[in-house]
């Protein structure tokens, strides 16, 4: 996949952060689409592609908060790297494995995000927005995976992503 496609994903992430995230949030719980995209890339693509894309995605999602930009730029590649290495030990075509790893990654990212952005009241915020947001995003991930598998089949989905 060309670099333009990854740039398009970064633009998509920026658009989501500005427009869709506020619209899809409720009671302070919001979707974490950027990490879902990063983990999906890591699930299907090469290790270096995944970590570099994750690095830039981390910069993009923290563009409004430069104080924590470096930590996001570090956390995202670590999660992408972890997802890549989990995938090589699992059946890549298994929907359950894919969803488990992606959900675990989302949960870890939410925990890291709360730790980076809201260290005060960490436990409360983790329960209030971290876990609920991970479940919310996990449901979206499940639906999107089902949709993609239904449209293309898991092998063809892998080829297309």
């Amino acid at each position: 996949m060309s670099i333009i496609a990854y740039f398009f994903y970064l633009v998509l992430i920026a658009g989501f952060q500005v427009i869709l995230r506020p619209l899809t949030s409720f009671w302070g719980v919001s979707l974490n689409l950027p990490i879902f995209i990063v983990l999906t890339v890591a699930w299907y693509k090469s290790e270096l592609t995944a970590v570099w894309f994750a690095f830039f995605a981390g910069i993009v999602i923290s563009a409004g908060t430069p104080l924590v930009m470096g930590w996001h730029a570090l956390a995202m590649p670590v999660l992408a790297w972890g997802t890549f290495h989990a995938r090589v030990r699992l059946n890549i075509d298994s929907p359950a494995a894919r969803l488990s790893v992606v959900f675990g990654g989302i949960l870890l990212h939410n925990i890291l995000t709360v730790a980076i952005s809201q260290p005060d009241g960490f436990v409360y915020q983790l329960w209030r927005t971290g876990l609920t947001g991970a479940v919310y995003t996990g449901l979206l991930a499940y639906l999107l995976f089902r949709l993609r598998d239904g449209l293309f089949g898991s092998r063809r989905a892998r080829a297309r992503f």
Partner: protein, 263 residues
Amino acid sequence: MSWISNLFSGYWRKLHFVIIILLALLLAYNDDGVSGAVSNGMLSVLYYPFFKIQHSIDDLIGVKKDNDELRAKLADAVSRVSMLEEAARENIRLRSILGFEPPTGYTLLPAEVIAVSGVKIPTSAVLNRGLKDGVVTGLPIINEEGLIGKVISVTDYYSTVQLLTDPANRVAVRVAESREMGIAKYVMSRGLIVDNIPVRGDVKPGDQILTSGLGGLYPPGLKVGTVIAVDHSETDPFSQVRLAPAADFNSLDELFVLRVKGR
């Protein structure tokens, strides 16, 4: 050669990780310089179009909200204006009847019309006065323009009026100028008429028709209408006089019950 290739490949891979980690640490620990510049660049290039879109969406939402509020205010203002206009009309009507005097020996009881009925023209009306106010069957109803009708049924708080325009109503009248007498009635096809005026009588358009007082139901001198035409045939000894009613039966509002003084 393959182990050299693998070594180089592993080295290359590790170099990427080292670069990424260094860049991330640079952003983390040099937040005033590098990360601020990167942030500005991201915001002005990547985010700016979305901020514009978001701004436009907010504007649209704001415009819709303003529109809804203005519509509600407009509806409220229209209803207030309507109420004020109605109050102004009522004020004018009440001023016009302020100096209205009842016939000698009678008192006026103000009443409001709360319902009218009739097919083409109102033939009966319900007033907000009843037995509790001293209204009884047979009392004449007038307004400042002239005779309206008579009370035909009463309850404690309401009374029903048979209007002059009810074809079943009959009123003894006389011509104000010539003093000739007749019976006024309403005929749906012709309107208000007086149909037994002698042909030789001196009745002409523009003459005033008043109640005659005969029969004892209505006091004499109440205005019933104005002659607009006098019709007669060669064979009929009586003329038929057509009247324009004194009162406008299509806009009945404040009326008066005419009560005999002392009762």
